[in-house]
């Protein structure tokens, strides 16, 4: 759903992360939600009651649609 900005872009190495088994490199300092979007996953979670697929919406910590398991965030949000 997102990709690195095309040239001309400064070459920054990026940090290796594994998202759902996929190894990718993400720019240092981006959120976990951004890593999921970069990895091209169809969704970040399923809702508790209906199982509907959800992806990140606001990327600023206000919508709570990016809740992901075992993140380092004390509040559960991936963004």
């Amino acid at each position: 759903m997102f990709r690195k900005r095309p040239e001309p872009a400064p070459a920054k190495a990026g940090v290796p992360v594994t998202v759902e088994g996929r190894d990718i490199r993400v720019p240092e300092g981006v959120s976990a939600a951004a890593a999921v979007l970069l990895a091209g996953l169809p969704a970040i979670r399923e809702t508790a009651v209906t199982g509907a697929p959800r992806g990140p919406y606001c990327l600023m910590g206000i919508c709570f649609d990016c809740l992901a398991g075992s993140t380092a965030s004390p509040t559960g949000r991936a963004a």
Binding site: T47, A48, V49, L67, T75
Partner: protein
């Protein structure tokens, strides 16, 4: 001036259940409601339809609660049929968890007392050990040493209940008058007039169901409702898949998936602010009971003032000085919705409370009478 068969003051869980019962049974009632600025004890309920340990030392209250829990399924079905709203009532039984041997012994003693006081009416309970509890509840913590269980307990969605009662009331021709305070009251036997702003309504019957507001309202009608506020705080977690099949007194899961954690009982007057240390204590006890709860995020927390009669037992009364005036005051507006709609409202419609309601009268607080 608009004339009604009955006026109910207070549109929370108690008032709306009574008003619904009156409308359903053919009266034309008015339900007058202060609005969101009111004390609104209905905000502070836990959604339990709870029987065990209600009425300890007051067998009439124990019986009244049992009767209400037994009326609940019929009320829920009737509301669903009339309004299309499913209030989510479930009655799988309920447990009260104990986290120490001392707590367990105390609980056992209470259950025994309930059974003894029930007499012929009967009170069926069991003390469960952790092994049995693990079958009923998800991943119980090791801190739980046991629990009391009865088959009479259950829970429901109280918000849907309030909505359904209001909707059913209006569907049967009841008139809902919101966002009004009573500016003046003209009070005479079987003749009650209320003025609010430019409007005036009157009826031969009136029911005071204004929760904490009843304390100041009641004397105007020759009644007494010496209720006090009791603050309760609640935590609600993010939604989780359905894991709780059985409600407990302080942890239950709503039908939408959120887990509710209660319940504090604080004597702080009319202060509705929250206290982080109280919230932490509630959360800590819940996590000791179910350690996996620590992984969930709390998404909502609030405090509310509940209605507490001096001895914890409801106050139901009819005015001697002004016949036609009634009052209903209780701590458990959800549990007692069954009898409020199906027993109390018919008594009001008939014009008098049944003789067995005398034990609920506020006259019991009149020390000089007891002497």
């Amino acid at each position: 001036m608009q004339r009604f068969d009955a006026i109910v003051i207070g549109g929370g869980l108690v008032g709306s259940a009574i008003a619904y019962g009156l409308a359903r049974d053919g009266l034309k009632p008015a339900l007058i409601d202060e609005g969101d600025v009111a004390f609104r004890a209905s905000r502070g309920n836990f959604g339990l339809v709870w029987v065990q340990s209600k009425g300890l030392g007051a067998p009439h209250y124990q019986r009244w609660t049992r009767l209400s829990a037994d009326e609940w399924p019929a009320l829920a079905a009737e509301l669903d049929e009339r309004t299309g709203i499913d209030v989510g009532h479930e009655r799988p039984g309920g447990v009260h968890l104990c986290l120490s041997d001392a707590e367990l012994e105390d609980r056992r003693a209470r259950m025994e007392q309930m059974r003894a006081e029930a007499g012929n009416f009967g009170f069926d309970y069991r003390m469960l050990d952790p092994g049995e509890l693990r079958d009923m509840l998800p991943r119980l913590g090791d801190a739980v040493v046991g629990a009391s269980w009865t088959r009479y307990d259950g829970h429901a969605n109280s918000l849907y209940l309030l909505h359904a009662l209001h909707k059913g009331f209006i569907a049967r021709g009841g008139i809902y008058i919101p966002n009004r305070t009573v500016d003046y009251a003209g009070v005479a036997p079987h003749d009650f007039r209320l003025g609010s702003g430019a409007e005036e309504i009157s009826a031969p019957k009136i029911v005071l169901a204004a929760g904490l507001g009843n304390a100041t309202l009641a004397p105007l009608f020759g009644l007494s409702a010496p209720v006090r506020p009791q603050r309760g705080q609640i935590l609600v977690t993010e939604r989780a898949g359905r894991v709780f099949e059985m409600p407990t007194t302080t942890v239950r899961q709503t039908v939408e998936g959120g887990i509710m954690i209660g319940d504090s009982m604080e004597d702080v007057g009319f202060d509705t602010s929250q206290r982080p240390d109280v919230m932490a204590a509630m959360a800590e006890r819940a996590v000791r009971s179910f350690p996996w709860l620590a992984e969930l995020q709390v998404v909502r927390a609030w405090a509310a003032l509940r209605v507490m009669p001096p001895d914890g037992t409801p106050i139901y009364d009819e005015s001697e000085k002004f016949p036609g005036a009634f009052t209903a005051n209780c701590h458990s507006g959800v549990t007692l919705a069954g009898v409020h709609a199906n027993a109390f409202a018919p008594m009001v419609a008939a014009g008098a409370l049944s003789p067995e309601m005398a034990r609920f009268s506020a006259r019991r607080f009149d020390v000089s009478q007891a002497a």
